[in-house]
């Protein structure tokens, strides 16, 4: 069996190993520096790109704002319209209509009935007092009240007073509450 003989001296072998280590260390360091340089360049490029985008966006926003300011008159009208329309719509929603109440008062006017006092409160409730000259008048007045009751527009309908008057007629007091 043949035996290999290393002709390179031990000293030379050491030197060679050292050279290899040096080379690989150098390569690693340069590699790291290279990666850093690429990374730094990339960071600068991204930073530059973002700065430019920011500037151009700022210019764009300024141009748009100028355009909006040029139409400020239209905007002020739109703001007034939106502000007023909300007030008007809530006002109309809560406004009490007295037309129906007036119609009901008209309907209560039966022959022989004399209206002496009438009050309409802010909710549309009614307080009526008057007199009827006969029992027929009283009956037809009550019929009209029943017609109102049937419509269910009032939560409560009371006769606080129904009595005979000295003249021979009937005194009536009626309350219709909303």
């Amino acid at each position: 069996m043949k035996q290999g003989v290393n002709l390179i001296s031990r000293e030379a072998q050491k030197t060679l190993r050292l050279l290899k280590i040096k080379q690989s260390l150098k390569m690693t360091i340069f590699g790291v520096v290279g990666v850093f340089l690429v990374l730094a360049l990339l960071v600068f490029l991204v930073f530059f790109f973002f700065s430019q985008t920011l500037k151009s966006n700022q210019n764009k926003a300024n141009r748009l704002k100028e355009g909006i300011r040029a139409l400020e008159k239209n905007e002020s009208y739109a703001v007034i319209i939106a502000n007023r329309v909300k007030g008007v719509s809530s006002l109309l929603k809560e406004r009490q209509s007295y037309l129906e109440t007036m119609d009901e008062i008209g309907n209560l006017s039966v022959p022989g009935f004399l209206l002496e006092n009438l009050e309409i409160d802010d909710k549309g409730g009614l307080k009526i007092s008057g007199s009827c000259d006969s029992r027929e008048c009283l009956a037809s007045f009550d019929e009209k009240v029943e017609e109102i009751r049937a419509k269910k527009n009032y939560s409560q309908i009371n006769y606080p007073l129904v009595g005979r008057s000295i003249k021979g007629g009937y005194n009536i007091s009626l309350e219709l509450k909303k």
Partner: protein, 247 residues
């Protein structure tokens, strides 16, 4: 490895090591803050993009609006709900409506001064300020009824409250003919907005229902210092977009 060899190795690696050290130092003091700046720039740009989108939308909305139409609507609404109380003007309008319907105005009295600010008590509606006038009147029942009907369809918007009949004169045919009493007439006002707000704020929009309301108001009788300035128009002619603010 001998000491001499080690020295030689370090001498040869001095420059590369210095470069690597410099890279680390520069990274620490320069590159990291730059990366932080990039991140904040990114956030800023995304906010800017959002703002630009809003501005573009607002500009597009504003461009579609017709100035004459807006002027007409805002004038109408300001007539419906004025920015300031005007007792003189309101009195003339009330007298005019009474006269037009055959109701005789005996006297009037201002109630509670000029209320302002948010709603207080039951006389103010929907946070609006009220100008309350008590009017003494005399009229036939039908005229009074007609006056109430007219009051519900006039600009500025008016409310009638607390009707109290003091004396009622009956006739042979119907006992409700002659009425006299007091009625409370309320006009509303609300201060106009003073500023437009930030330019980035979106354009205020009104709903279709509110647009319908504006169309309805066009049918109301408009008064200026007591003189009816415009007869109700049966069918308002639409110009431009149907509803410039509709959502």
């Amino acid at each position: 490895m001998t000491q001499e060899q080690l020295k030689e190795l370090l001498r040869e690696l001095a420059w590369p090591l210095a470069a690597a050290g410099l890279a680390v130092v520069v990274t620490l003091i320069f590159l990291f803050p730059k990366i932080g700046q990039i991140l904040s720039l990114r956030t800023e740009i995304s906010e800017q993009n959002k703002e630009i989108k809003q501005l573009q939308q607002k500009l597009a909305d504003l461009n579609t609006l017709s100035e004459p139409e807006l002027f007409e609507s805002s004038s109408l609404l300001e007539e419906a709900l004025p920015g300031e109380a005007d007792l003189f003007k309101n009195m003339i309008i009330v007298r005019r409506v009474f006269e037009e319907n055959g109701v005789f105005l005996d006297s009037f009295r201002l109630l509670g001064g000029l209320a302002s600010g948010p709603a207080q008590g039951s006389d103010q509606v929907a946070g609006l300020s009220a100008l309350r006038i008590e009017v003494a009147f005399s009229a036939p029942f039908e005229s009074f009824r007609q006056m109430i009907k007219s009051m519900e369809k006039i600009l500025p918007l008016t409310t009638v409250k607390r009707i109290k009949f003091g004396s009622l004169e009956a006739t042979e045919s119907a006992s409700l003919f002659g009425l006299s009493g007091k009625v409370e007439v309320i006009n509303f006002f609300s201060p106009l907005p003073k500023t437009l707000g930030k330019v980035e704020q979106p354009l205020p929009k009104i709903t279709n229902q509110e647009q319908k309301l504006i169309e309805e108001l066009k049918l109301y009788t408009r008064y200026q210092a007591g003189v009816s300035v415009e007869e109700p128009v049966s069918s308002p002619s639409a110009v431009g977009r149907d509803n410039p603010f509709s959502i």
